[in-house]
């Protein structure tokens, strides 16, 4: 584990305790419908638990002090996210406190930061990034059009899936102000309140009971000073935000993988077949040992990447892709093995294994899949 200072250790312990008490896996199960998908009418998160998280200051961990945050760094936020990942706790912490806050920190004007960050920091306002427009992460393929109007811009197009999009108040929307889908030039980010006229939202019912959204924008009016960063030059900014988002997801996945492994290890130590504890079979011992090794790689990749954000390390892009791809592969394997090693019980909705399996595949697709990040790492490293 990374070397933590006293405050970070306290934060981690507190998060660990709170998540287990307040949002154990049974809380997520409560959001589920029969076998999968979200329960009708549910927003895919627990609003009261979210308020408590805000109370503890988790929403402001990376927000500058001037805007009501603690400016306590990404590694600290990562520790909390990892603990949430352990119990598959559903909350918009990554979308809002990490992704939206990062976007504003990286490129917001004083005025924009002053307007949005305090709400994000105290949890009263939920932000999210509306980037992708199809099933695969592909920022440069953005087609949503922004056309200049007399007093600003008009946005038209669709976004999906928007993480936590049904509960978000602020969407940071990627649009094309020039060029054609596929171009890196011509992308612009806009700060768009989700109650804007012309913005319509539809909840998507996903296997992990979380509710991302489909946004339809029809001539949504945005003011000139709601442009985040420079007009037409957002590609690098999008990369920087997405890298932070990917690292946050990787931290969550590390937590999920660690917990899935622990639960499975417990089962190997208790289930008896052939008059022996199944963990005494060498085939399963080696399997467990290999998964343990993969977890070690993942922890290192994730913690290195979190620290790299705090250190403004120029290697950050490659480290972000390393973290997301490694965590993706590890959680994929461990969640599959969790089902396999539990046998029949692991196939039932009543058991937690299926919930880890489902969340794993959703997390894997979020902010760039394993395949996408391997490709990117390859390009960055001259392969």
């Amino acid at each position: 584990m990374a070397v933590l200072n006293d405050e970070q250790t306290m934060l981690k312990d507190m998060a660990s305790q709170w998540v287990r008490d307040r949002l154990p896996v049974t809380a997520l199960r409560g959001l589920y419908d029969h076998g999968g998908g979200g329960r009708c009418g549910s927003d895919g998160y627990d609003a009261d638990a979210w308020a408590e998280m805000a109370q503890m200051g988790w929403c402001g961990i990376i927000v500058p002090e001037a805007h009501g945050g603690a400016d306590f760094g990404y590694l600290s936020l990562g520790l909390v996210i990892e603990e949430l990942g352990r119990t598959l706790a559903a909350s918009p912490l990554i979308s809002s406190a990490l992704v939206a806050a990062s976007a504003l920190r990286l490129a917001g004007t004083q005025e924009q930061q002053g307007r949005w960050l305090p709400g994000i920091a105290d949890g009263s306002l939920i932000g999210t990034l509306a980037l992708d427009e199809g099933p695969h992460h592909a920022p440069e393929r953005t087609a949503l059009a922004a056309t200049a109007s007399h007093d600003g811009w008009k946005l038209s197009g669709t976004k999906r899936p928007v993480q936590d999009g049904m509960i978000a108040h602020l969407a940071i929307v990627a649009a094309r102000t020039s060029g054609a889908p596929g171009d890196r030039d011509g992308l612009t980010l806009f700060l768009v309140p989700t109650d804007s006229a012309g913005l319509e939202r539809q909840a998507l019912d996903q296997i992990d009971a979380r509710r991302p959204a489909l946004y339809r924008l029809e001539a949504v009016n945005v003011a000139v000073n709601d442009v985040l960063g420079e007009v037409g030059k957002a590609a690098d900014l999008i990369d920087a935000i997405r890298d932070r988002a990917a690292i946050g997801m990787a931290a969550e996945m590390l937590g999920s993988a660690t917990q899935a492994f622990d639960i499975t290890l417990d089962y190997l130590k208790t289930r008896v077949q052939f008059g022996a504890i199944i963990g005494s079979f060498q085939a399963l011992q080696h399997r467990a040992a290999e998964l343990f090794g993969e977890l070690q790689l993942t922890r290192s990749a994730v913690e290195t990447a979190l620290a790299a954000i705090d250190a403004d390390d120029p290697a950050l892009p490659a480290l972000a892709s390393l973290a997301k791809a490694t965590a993706g592969e590890t959680l994929h394997r461990i969640s599959s093995q969790m089902v396999q090693l539990h046998g029949g019980i692991g196939m039932t909705h009543e058991h937690d294994a299926g919930l880890y399996l489902k969340r794993a595949r959703v997390a894997e697709q979020c902010h760039g899949s394993t395949a996408w990040h391997r490709e990117r790492w390859a390009r960055l490293n001259g392969y």
Partner: protein
């Protein structure tokens, strides 16, 4: 059974082709047969299916190699294979395929007495009686011989009490073949093989929800269930031998090559786009799709080679290795399919996910069972290591 002459085969192929063309309801083309095997209500409600089942029953082609008095057509394995191939070629399915035809039927043919065969085989051959498999128990999964369900000889009947679990289709089945304990002193040597009518008093089947949302799984309780003496297959305490044979039939059918699988490349083109050279626009995913497709092709070639090599046909120990290869390839394919679909492969219900996307997602979840049921991946490897490779253990 005498091998047919090559010319005879070609003639039979033509005959089969013509009959299938005339009798297979076109509306059922490319419909997964599992739909009707897994859901008795859907089967009962579908007229095309009922017509198709009846025609195949009359012809005896659902179980072509069984004797006509048991509802079959009395054909050779080679004939049966031709029927299967021609059926696959037109996107059809065998409406009779079930636990009864794949597992219990072949077992009864070897171990049942004539009365049992006449009582059950014709109903299996017409798919009028559904069967389920009552083997696993909460404490006896991979170690099946640890089963505890008690069966006491009451003179004029058997008295069964205990609990089974993971019994697929028990809530829709008419009959169940059950392994019971008739001797508590010996492990394998104290097990018997019993046929139980699911309508018997004292049986309760409770469905369990699976991660795929399906509820075909049940736990089954036997509370002092009376079973007629004549329902015991083979001798008392001979059940383990019979069960092992049945599990070979099960593995064999699980490792069997189903109809060819649709290639994923065209779908990947649609979902991921193509690069300037027309290749799937994700080299990493492309490489993994290619590897899976190549393994699949090599697997099919392996099955054909082994079938050609095994002159007398019957299931062999090599089947365990095949079952693991097949479940691995097909599970990976299910993973790749939802990965190709990306975020659209993660939908559970509602718009904008298409029916095909939602089906792929559930099929992926269900595929996790392939390496668990019918003997888990690990247990199959143990069998291969011990019996095929002669390693000690």
């Amino acid at each position: 059974m005498a091998e047919m002459e090559p010319i005879d085969r070609e003639e039979f192929r033509q005959e089969a082709r013509a009959w299938l063309k005339a009798n297979f309801p076109p509306a059922l083309t490319n419909v997964p047969g599992l739909l009707f095997q897994g859901d008795a209500h859907a089967a009962a409600a579908n007229d095309d299916y009922q017509l198709w089942r009846q025609r195949m029953t009359d012809k005896g082609w659902g179980v072509p190699t069984w004797a006509p008095r048991y509802g079959g057509a009395g054909l050779t394995e080679a004939h049966g294979k031709i029927i299967g191939e021609e059926l696959a070629a037109i996107g059809g399915f065998n409406p009779i395929r079930s636990y009864g035809t794949m597992m219990l039927g072949p077992t009864l043919l070897e171990y049942g007495d004539e009365a049992q065969k006449l009582e059950h085989l014709p109903f299996i051959a017409s798919h009028e009686r559904r069967w389920c498999q009552g083997f696993s128990e909460p404490g006896a999964g991979s170690d099946l011989a640890a089963l505890q369900t008690k069966c006491i000889d009451m003179g004029d009947h058997w008295l069964v009490s205990g609990q089974k679990i993971w019994t697929s289709g028990a809530d829709q089945a008419d009959w169940c073949f059950v392994l019971v304990r008739t001797d508590t002193e010996r492990k394998q040597g104290g097990i018997s093989f019993l046929l139980v009518d699911m309508q018997s008093e004292g049986i309760e089947a409770r469905p369990i929800v699976l991660i795929s949302g399906s509820t075909h799984f049940c736990e089954v309780f036997f509370n002092d269930v009376k079973v007629p003496k004549g329902n015991l297959v083979g001798e008392v305490n001979q059940g383990w031998t019979i069960a092992k044979r049945l599990l070979q039939f099960e593995r064999n059918s699980l490792s069997e090559v189903k109809a060819d699988i649709t290639p994923l490349a065209p779908l990947a083109h649609d979902y991921l786009g193509t690069d300037a050279l027309g290749r799937i626009d994700s080299p990493d995913l492309r490489a993994r799709l290619v590897r899976n497709a190549m393994r699949h092709e090599a697997y099919m070639a392996t099955v054909r080679r082994l079938a050609a090599e095994a002159k007398n046909g019957g299931p062999s120990h090599g089947v365990s290795a095949l079952k693991n290869l097949w479940s691995g390839i097909i599970q990976e394919r299910a993973e790749l399919l939802i990965e190709v679909m990306g975020a659209d492969g993660l939908g559970w219900a509602g718009d904008p996910y298409t029916a095909a996307e939602k089906e792929a997602t559930r099929a992926w979840l269900h595929s996790k069972a392939f390496s668990i049921y019918g003997g888990s991946y690990e247990v199959q490897n143990n069998i291969t290591a011990k019996h095929t490779l002669g390693l000690p253990g």
